[in-house]
Symmetry: C3
Subunit: 194 residues, 3 copies
Amino acid sequence: MTLIVVTGMPGSGSSTVIKGALILNEKGAEFTLLNYGDVMFEVARDAGLVEKRDGMRKLPNEKQQEIQRLAGDKIVEWKKSTNLIIDTHCTIKTPSGYLPGLPDYVLREIKPDQFVLIEANPDEILARRQTDKTRERDVEDEKGIEEHQFMNRAISMAYACLTGAPVKIIQNHDGEVEKAAKEFFELMKVLPKA
Amino acid sequence: MTLIVVTGMPGSGSSTVIKGALILNEKGAEFTLLNYGDVMFEVARDAGLVEKRDGMRKLPNEKQQEIQRLAGDKIVEWKKSTNLIIDTHCTIKTPSGYLPGLPDYVLREIKPDQFVLIEANPDEILARRQTDKTRERDVEDEKGIEEHQFMNRAISMAYACLTGAPVKIIQNHDGEVEKAAKEFFELMKVLPKA
Amino acid sequence: MTLIVVTGMPGSGSSTVIKGALILNEKGAEFTLLNYGDVMFEVARDAGLVEKRDGMRKLPNEKQQEIQRLAGDKIVEWKKSTNLIIDTHCTIKTPSGYLPGLPDYVLREIKPDQFVLIEANPDEILARRQTDKTRERDVEDEKGIEEHQFMNRAISMAYACLTGAPVKIIQNHDGEVEKAAKEFFELMKVLPKA
């Protein structure tokens, strides 16, 4: 089955773009949407490591890596029966720096067919974060967002190299979410599906 | 034997730089020049998958990856008896995004000793493409070329990390092709050769 | 035990930042500081390949890679009994281009838990190099330093992907070395230690 990994930093609007594409795809091939962070949280909660989702980022890196791996196992199970879209992050900004969202040992397990980076301009991302009260956000200014986006692009090419899968960049500028959703939908149509 | 991988996006003039260096090298160690795309095309044509070279980029990624791998096998055969220069792309811009030219499974097979990126300024590349009517070109503007060049540099460092081989950037600015060819020739002289 | 890899290009002041952090850490967990270049030099000198440290960069890449690997073996030995900080380079600028400081085969051996990039502005790095007479420096201008820093960031994300370890960027601007040292010290406190 086909596995598309969609990444976007907080404020990029990646989840909204995916949902828009799935609506356009209503009559197309079946895709199941999973949020990597949700899967990780379920794994961590079941193991008694955290109570709230935001507690995840306070876990030591070693624990986060173990949970990443266990979440990967779950995704491999899902992939056996359905096409998947995984909503996740290229890197997670932690007090220890940029933590890779999809390290080698996870990539080799889940074997993505396609990577998608949802991006926006740093000022757009910053403004969206300031109005987003639903989750705790790390403090990051425009220069920090630019640096973060650089690191995301760089690591996406390591992901591409290790898997052979292509990386598509989709811009989700203010007021253009439908255009971004359509672009992602067109990509879904091109991919081979079971 | 020594294997040098030279990459450049369409309009970078990488093929011209290589040819210039080979003329300077006339009395030097023997090098055979192979174009990865040509080898891939031969493989694909022999398998009845395409008729024309430009049809390659319209194949599904899965097929392109299979052909990449088979072309890698051919290169390993050549490498047994001669020093090689492979003319190829860091990434290929496809409708699915940036497809890695040398994914992990190809790199581990062909084991390059040296990577070379031939670059030019985005405006130079754009102008060269507009006068180049010999092959179909995807539409890409200056900003797109800049992004493509970024992704090429990023993935070249993944290639370096996986192989241990260094990455040399050579600028091929307008009117300076001889300088670029000489720079590449100097690099060829430094490399250990069988 | 914990292994922190700290990288900085010549003039970034990485060694000074590390020393400052170790002073702050005086009463903390034990860390042994190793310079990868020193370990490589010892290995190379013992093998009769070089006499002076600066002779290292004139060795063919193949020899440098062999020495990298042997130095990795030594580090693995150290790591069995102490927490380590390795002072090294993301990439080394050689006549053959950007040579990876930590290729895949070294990373898999030493298994770092944390990467740190010590950076400064290109003009700061250039000025520091001009007053540093203790070692031979390759000629590199501001644009070259910017390019080098780009390649270092890019390869650091390949390192992160292959190991699962995070990458922390610490700015060491003029007159702010104590701030940089404190930032690194805070990072040392967060890491799990044996």
